[in-house]
């Protein structure tokens, strides 16, 4: 979108300048609104104590919360550890993979 603005200068002279073009966001509404979630899946090899420690380290959760998530993974097969913007979620999944946990990034639907 562009427009012409007329500017009145001193002594009655006029000049025209191009108004700046406004950049518009082209990302869809869906992409802007939907958060991403970090999901950890059950893995019979990883030790329960190890998984708890990883949750504490990566997310800074207190032990009780980390244990609750670990038990949810163990009993239900998966647990949502965090929810928010994609970049941060990717960062968390990378950290979890560094500890060899089965973690994925999912868009909330």
């Amino acid at each position: 979108m562009s427009a012409v603005i007329t500017v009145r200068l001193e002594k009655g002279s006029t000049s025209t300048v191009e108004a700046p073009v406004k950049e518009t966001e082209t990302r869809g509404e869906e992409e802007l609104d939907l958060p991403w979630q970090v999901v950890v899946h059950n893995d019979p090899v990883n030790l329960m104590t190890y998984v708890t420690m990883v949750f504490q380290r990566v997310f800074g959760y207190p032990r009780e919360k980390a244990e609750r998530h670990m038990l949810e993974v163990h009993h239900k097969g998966r647990s949502i550890l965090w929810c928010g913007v994609r970049e941060r979620a990717e960062f968390y999944v990378q950290q979890l993979h560094g500890y060899l946990l089965l973690a994925t990034l999912e868009k909330v639907v």
Binding site: P44, V45, N46, L47, Y50, V93, Y99, L100, T104, K107
Partner: protein, 162 residues
């Protein structure tokens, strides 16, 4: 075998040749090459979205490979204390500095995951800690997974106390 805390380190002492050999096998066991499914387990896809997976493979996976390799190299360097002939392995001990604890946890985990993939152990097998004596390579693999898990538990406990 005895594990104890010694200042800023853990000491595994009274190691018999068999357990010493299992420890020396950690870096080799952690290598996923030639083990079907192991590579896919260590470097899992982060999402169902192809675009994310493609970027991940290019930028994140090399970083993870470096991280895992660095951990096994640290462990291999510590294990050099066990080098020697069979006779000298008798009742040897191994000192693991606390600053290497994360590397040990990672290498032990890599090894456990690769071995579990190699033999495709079931959940029941992995939870059976009272298995009968080792009679096959598969039994030895399960023993290794359990032994490495025991070490992990001990390191975690000592890290927490530390």
């Amino acid at each position: 075998m005895e594990i104890s805390r010694e200042g800023e380190a853990l000491r595994i002492s009274d190691l018999d040749p068999f357990l010493a050999e299992l420890l020396r096998q950690i870096p080799l066991s952690a290598n996923p090459e030639g083990v079907s499914g192991a590579e896919a387990r260590l470097f899992i896809e982060p999402s169902r979205e192809k675009e994310i997976c493609s970027e991940w493979k290019s930028y994140v996976e090399p970083e993870l490979r470096r991280l895992f390799r660095s951990a096994t190299e640290t462990v291999a360097a510590d294990l050099a204390q066990l080098n020697g002939n069979e006779k000298s392995l008798r009742n040897r001990s191994l000192r693991i500095p606390f600053e290497h604890a994360d590397a040990w946890l990672s290498a032990l985990n890599q090894a456990r995951l690769v071995i579990a993939e190699k033999y495709k152990f079931s959940d029941e097998e992995l939870n059976d800690h009272d298995r009968s004596p080792i009679g096959s390579r598969r039994d030895l693999g399960l023993f290794q997974v359990n032994f490495y898990g025991f070490l992990q538990e001990f390191i975690l406990r000592e890290m927490e106390a530390h």
